[in-house]
């Protein structure tokens, strides 16, 4: 018998390809897998938006080959009104769940949270592996619904009842399409719950010696706060989806009211509540918006601090504000339901915290702007996208002040104003956060640098393009342009068609920029310039003190010990302009935690 004790202390890296790259329990591999899934999902989502925009700008213009995707949905390569709605639903679902939740939270969080906390791995690595594969399994039925007889569901990513619960009589995709959609979301919830379990326990229990909670970088705080939100929000969406599936397959009446007549058919359901779905969905849906954006806030702060060479005005206030956003996000969900026929008193009750939530948001923005004031910012692709995030977050956030008031929301709710608002504030802003993170962490993840010139071109095109797409949306909304229409034939809408044409061209232009990014990403992965060292941006947090790419257990033989706050830049008397968290240098800035 040989002695096994030496092996028990340190578990080595798996050697087989399957355990290394497919069913890996290594958080870094899982993070990359999540990133790849998000990338594929983003491409599908973007393609769908192109198809929709082409149809909106040039309604009768055939899109070559579209009939191959669906012969019934696009006969003669021109999409039917129903097919437009199906593409719109899938665009929303894929983007919100599989891109905006997956990339900034699950992908970057998986890769960097254990490293930034100084842990070897997450505490439940098998759950972590399951988390990814269940999420991947969730993506399959969603994509499969494109290839079923009647295509995917057309009910919008919010799947309002009763349309979502009445089956095929509601239109193409409302039977099997909805069941596949709800199954996909159920699986997605399980994946995210498993992820949240690992994120929370990693942050609380796995920190290395010296790593107090306040010494965690802002990114780690962003992921931690997000995981708490995810835990509570996805745990509510899953039961809602189960009830929806039961209304389809078991003939229950949770969401379908009695005596509902659709296309001359009286439905057999008895006395369900249509508002119930909205309550359950938006209790998840609003925190979901913050699940998409809070990790981006962390990433942007982290990137900016490194490039400003100074900490934010207040580390603590930034953390408390992000936590306040999370806490308030549960109290505001009713603002999505101002036009649902809800009691007006309830609208008022939900309007108040909605206005209150602008306070922590504003504090965060002011801390960013105040810290940037007078800073000698190093301009690179990552810092540009971080600035772009702030710009988009402000532009999209300002329209939130209007929509928070029920009396104004009633006018604007069903228009493009809302579409412009949420695309800027959570869609584009979160995407910019993902881009900032990608350019910033690419050297650590792959050992190579991304091409800076292409990165800057990507930024300029995306920044201008996104504003050209989404600013006119606000104008369209104020002009009364209803959303979810596939063509604009009413008298008052016809003059707005040129604006739609402009937006379509801007969307194609912006999409082109994303293809540049994709090229840069893939090319740099294999042929990019090698990273000059382990710390090319001269950062201070733990991911920069380990090798590139990090070894299997993140830190090699010696686990890190943390002596400093996360952002010790430009400290007087220090040997360089940054002090790493692991540095034993006996110098500190006056405001460092004692």
């Amino acid at each position: 018998m040989h002695d096994m004790s030496a092996h028990a202390v340190q578990h080595g890296a798996p050697t087989s390809f399957i355990r290394n790259h497919v069913f890996s329990t290594d958080h870094k591999v899982i993070g990359k897998q999540y990133y790849a899934l998000a990338l594929v999902a983003a491409l599908v989502g973007m393609l769908l938006s192109w198809l929709m925009r082409l149809h909106l700008g040039f309604a009768t213009f055939p899109i070559p080959g579209l009939h191959l995707l669906s012969s019934t949905g696009a006969p003669g390569d021109v999409m039917t009104p129903e097919y437009y709605l199906q593409l719109m639903t899938m665009h929303g679902t894929i983007m919100v769940f599989f891109v905006l939740t997956t990339a900034p939270f699950a992908a970057f969080g998986n890769f960097f949270l254990p490293i930034q906390t100084g842990a070897e791995d997450m505490p439940f690595p098998h759950f972590n592996m399951m988390s990814f594969w269940v999420t991947f399994a969730a993506f399959v039925p969603l994509i499969a619904s494109f290839f079923t007889g009647t295509g995917p569901t057309l009910g919008g990513w919010t799947q309002y009842a009763p349309l979502s619960a009445i089956g095929d009589v509601g239109g193409p995709g409302q039977g099997l399409g909805v069941i596949l959609w709800a199954t996909s979301i159920c699986l997605f919830c399980i994946g995210q719950l498993l992820g949240a379990l690992n994120f929370i326990t990693t942050t609380l229990d796995m920190r290395c010696k010296g790593m107090s909670l306040m010494r965690l970088p802002l990114t780690a705080w962003g992921w931690f706060i997000t995981s708490v939100m995810g835990l509570t929000a996805f745990a509510v969406l899953m039961p809602a989806c189960i009830l929806l599936i039961l209304d389809h397959v078991a003939g229950t009446s949770f969401f379908v009211p009695a005596n509902l007549v659709i296309n001359d058919h009286v439905l057999p359901h008895t006395g369900g509540s249509t508002l119930l779905w909205q309550h359950l969905f938006w209790f998840f849906g609003h925190p979901e918006v913050y699940i998409a954006i809070v990790p981006g806030m962390g990433i942007v702060s982290h990137v900016l601090i490194t490039n400003m060479r100074k900490p934010m005005l207040s580390h603590r206030v930034l953390i408390y504000s992000m936590a306040a956003l999370a806490a308030l996000s549960y109290m505001v969900y009713g603002h999505h339901m101002f036009v649902s026929g809800m009691n007006p008193v309830s609208s008022l009750v939900f309007s108040f915290p909605t206005l209150v939530i602008t306070i922590p948001s504003t504090i965060i923005v002011l801390i960013w702007l105040g810290s940037l004031y007078g800073a000698k910012l190093r301009i690179n692709s990552a810092s540009l996208f971080a600035l772009g995030f702030i710009s988009m977050f402000i532009s999209g956030g300002v329209s939130g002040f209007f929509l928070a008031q029920p009396s104004i929301d009633i006018m604007l709710h069903a228009t493009y104003f809302v579409v412009g608002h949420f695309h800027l504030v959570m869609g584009v802003a979160a995407m910019f956060g993902i881009f900032a993170g990608t350019y910033f962490w690419f050297p650590k993840m792959t050992g190579r640098m991304m091409n800076e010139t292409l990165g800057k071109v990507h930024f300029v095109m995306s920044f201008i393009g996104a504003y050209c797409i989404f600013m006119p949306f606000h104008y369209l909304g104020i002009a009364g342009n209803v959303r979810r229409y596939q063509a604009f034939t009413d008298d008052y809408l016809i003059p707005l068609i040129p604006v739609h044409k402009f937006i379509t061209i801007a969307a194609l232009f912006t999409g082109l920029a994303q293809l540049i990014f994709l090229y840069n990403l893939i090319h740099s992965r294999f042929k990019g310039e090698l990273a000059p060292n382990d710390n090319p941006w001269e950062g201070t947090s733990l991911e920069w003190s380990t090798a590139t790419p990090p070894p299997h257990n993140n830190f090699g033989d010696k686990m890190p010990v943390v002596y400093h706050d996360p952002y010790q830049y430009s400290v007087e008397g220090a040997s360089s302009d940054y002090i790493m968290q692991t540095s034993t240098e006996k110098v500190s800035s006056p405001d460092e935690e004692k």
């Binding site: 906390t117 920190r207 835990l231 949770f254 008895t270 004692k594």
Partner: protein
């Protein structure tokens, strides 16, 4: 190799200060584990709990949210159209006694195991006995629930009979699925105990989960009894 020596199971204590577990190996941050700036590392006073202890609360929080969602669904649905009154199958009350009894036996098991660690050898009979009884009572509970469903089915009552039965089946089945999770946890504890590799945190986490299932069932029974 003819002599059999009964060794007490090695139950690892929670991590001690400055002592990291080999399996985790990543040191311990802890809530107040601040190393001050300037290179002096303050002695760690409070080590962090093993992840299973924190993790179980995270799991229970998620389950609480899910059942809160079901509860609010029941309340909102009741506000739309009055629920039909139904009589709960009487076997549920017996099942309630079973799951409460299983919590008691699990607590006895936990104490026995703790005593067994440091106690005299004559108590070493079988610390797993009460765990087996708990497992048996848990299985009886699930069997009892299944009996209730079968009884209703034999009367021609199903998920879609009326909204009250819809909620009855959704809540009881969802709970039973979670109980299955608890049962597999108990099996895992027994296996580890028999192999003498059981950790205190695993035992505690499993028993917390099991007690929670009992409390959740009592809550659900009251909810169903009052609302339906």
């Amino acid at each position: 190799m003819a002599t059999t020596i009964h060794e007490p199971p090695k139950i690892e204590q929670d991590r001690l200060p400055n002592q990291s577990l080999p399996s985790q190996g990543s040191g311990n941050g802890g809530w107040r584990n601040v190393a001050p700036a300037g290179g002096d590392l303050r002695r760690v006073k409070h080590s962090s709990p093993p992840p299973a202890s924190t993790g179980i609360w995270v799991v229970l929080a998620a389950i609480t949210m899910s059942f809160a969602a079901f509860t609010s669904a029941l309340i909102v649905r009741q506000g739309t159209a009055p629920l039909v009154h139904i009589t709960l199958p009487p076997v549920l009350y017996l099942n309630t006694l079973l799951i409460i009894a299983s919590s008691v036996t699990l607590e006895l098991a936990r104490r026995r195991i703790a005593t067994f660690m440091g106690g005299p050898r004559d108590q070493a009979a079988s610390p797993a006995r009460w765990l087996y009884i708990t497992l048996f009572l848990g299985l009886l509970f699930v069997a009892g629930q299944t009996f209730a469903w079968m009884q209703l089915k034999s009367q021609g009552i199903g998920l879609a009979t009326n909204i009250s039965y819809s909620f009855f089946f959704v809540l009881t089945v969802a709970h039973a699925l979670h109980v299955f999770g608890g049962l597999s946890g108990l099996v895992r504890v027994i296996v580890k105990l028999n192999k003498s590799v059981l950790r205190r945190s695993t035992l505690d986490a499993t028993s917390r989960y099991w007690h929670f299932m009992g409390a959740l069932w009592v809550y659900l029974l009251l909810l169903l009894w009052m609302k339906l």
